[in-house]
């Protein structure tokens, strides 16, 4: 095994920006479905959550309902070690707000923020960062 990353869970709506980001990361990741009846991912190990932002001008509704539903399950959020938030700077103060909200709610660090589907720079920084936090996680798991 050349690289070890923490498990990843992400949400992406049909516009697909976060999905494209995760695909380009090239790290295995479980997607939280938009469909409220679909089963939620069930991480059995420490994981990082990647979440886009859907806030209105006042910041309401930043975290998608399905992500809240996922985090409401204490056994699922118990393994959350950090969050990566995305959004669009054009939304001003609510840029990547979902990442801030989840970090605060779950008392985990906001690891990184990026816009839309991310840039090449974002991809390489997040890959390197995940590798950095993944290595100790994976070695203690053994």
């Amino acid at each position: 095994m050349s690289r070890q990353f923490p498990a990843l869970v992400y949400f992406s709506s049909k516009s697909g920006n976060t999905h494209r980001f995760v695909t380009r990361l090239g790290i295995e990741a479980a997607r939280i479905s938009e469909d409220p009846d679909a089963p939620l991912p069930d991480p059995q190990e420490d994981f990082v959550l990647i979440c886009p932002t859907y806030a209105d001008g006042q910041g309401r509704g930043a975290v998608p309902k399905q992500v809240i539903r996922f985090l409401n399950d204490a056994t699922k959020r118990a393994h959350l070690v950090g969050v990566i938030g995305s959004g669009n700077r054009n939304f001003g103060a609510t840029y990547a707000l979902s990442g801030h909200v989840i970090a605060e709610k779950c008392n985990v660090p906001l690891l990184y923020t990026f816009e839309l589907a991310g840039t090449e720079t974002d991809i390489s920084r997040v890959r390197a960062g995940l590798e950095k936090i993944g290595r100790p996680l994976c070695s203690t798991a053994q």
Binding site: K14, D56, R77, G99, E120, A128
Partner: protein, 323 residues
């Protein structure tokens, strides 16, 4: 196409039966974000306006007139041109909202003008907008694509480029003034426009992606080539427009980086990859900070291990959390 529409039975729109949840999501976002220029205290900028040189004043008025032209096109031609192509009745309703907000945006610039400028200055700028070859060229490139009978997906490409790319040579200037603590109320108004345009570009880009995924590989390739071709054409015009406007203040290179950054975002709204590499798309941090107050690159990974900062809460109460 027109005949087909006319032979359909007229149907009342039912918001309780959605074909695409995104329509309601975006309708709610746009209606909650509704605003009018009267709510921004523009007159507080009068003292600041007085500190600008004559050239800076003229540049600012011209830039805003150029933005007014784009908003006018999107209000009267662009958003209405997308309506016959709407897949769902709810999409048509969202487009009427987009069209109206473009009229509000166009109207806002006149509020700025009447607050800060003389009639003579305003008239000169509108005359300039009709005669400036670069401004007219970008308007024509977009309007040609909107023409009746054109490919619905090509229209969406042009529309996303207008919403997410062409405005930004203009938006740069109020963000620049704001970063220097000038015309800050005007910048607040422009930020409301930027927020709306971001939703518009996102939504029209999303609808583009729904149509694009229905095409076979050859059809997709043709459209993608068209999109990158149109982006190159518009980028060429924007470069000249930028040089003409910003050379004298020495800001041209800074604005061009902002163009690259926004061109990449426009392409992402369509589901495509970025065109400009990171090294020419790293926007001046002062401009990014003017866009989003809390937007310095958040990178916990590269930090020295010091404690992370939890974001200052906006309003985040949501009854769905149960912990």
């Amino acid at each position: 196409m027109k005949d087909m529409i006319e032979t359909r039975i007229p149907r009342a729109i039912n918001w309780n039966r959605l074909d695409d949840d995104k329509d309601l999501e975006v309708w709610n976002r746009l209606t909650v974000n509704f605003w009018l220029p009267e709510k921004v205290p523009l007159s507080n900028d009068i003292p600041s306006w007085g500190t600008l040189t004559d050239h800076e004043k003229q540049l600012t008025i011209r830039v805003f007139t150029g933005l007014t032209l784009l908003d006018t096109i999107q209000n009267s031609v662009g958003a209405p041109a997308l309506m016959p192509d709407a897949i769902t009745p709810h999409e048509e309703a969202v487009l009427t909202n987009i069209a109206f907000m473009e009229a509000v945006h166009a109207r806002s610039y006149s509020s700025i003008f009447s607050t800060l400028c003389s009639t003579k200055e305003i008239d000169e700028a509108f005359r300039w907008s009709e005669e400036n070859p670069h401004l007219q060229a970008k308007a024509k490139a977009i309007l040609d694509t909107y023409a009746p009978g054109n490919d619905p997906l090509k229209r969406k490409i042009a529309s996303v480029f207008l919403e997410s790319f062409l405005f930004y040579s203009g938006f740069y200037l109020p963000m620049y003034w704001s970063s220097r603590a000038k015309l800050t109320n005007t910048a607040d108004l422009i930020r409301l426009i930027i927020r709306d345009e971001a939703v518009h570009g996102y939504y029209i880009g999303y609808k583009f992606q729904r149509g694009y995924e229905q095409l076979d590989e050859a059809g997709q390739q043709e459209l993608k080539d068209y999109a990158f071709g149109l982006m190159f054409e518009l980028y060429g015009i924007e470069n000249q427009y930028t040089e003409e406007l910003y050379d004298e203040l020495g800001l041209t290179e800074d604005v061009k980086v902002f163009l690259h950054y926004n061109a990449n975002k426009a392409l992402q709204n369509l589901g495509f990859e970025a065109l400009f590499p990171p090294e020419v798309s790293e926007v001046n941090p002062a401009i990014l900070a003017a866009l989003s107050p809390d937007s310095e690159n958040h990178d916990f990974f590269s930090g020295s291990g010091s404690s992370y900062v939890i974001g200052k809460a906006v309003a985040t109460e949501d009854e769905d959390w149960d912990f």
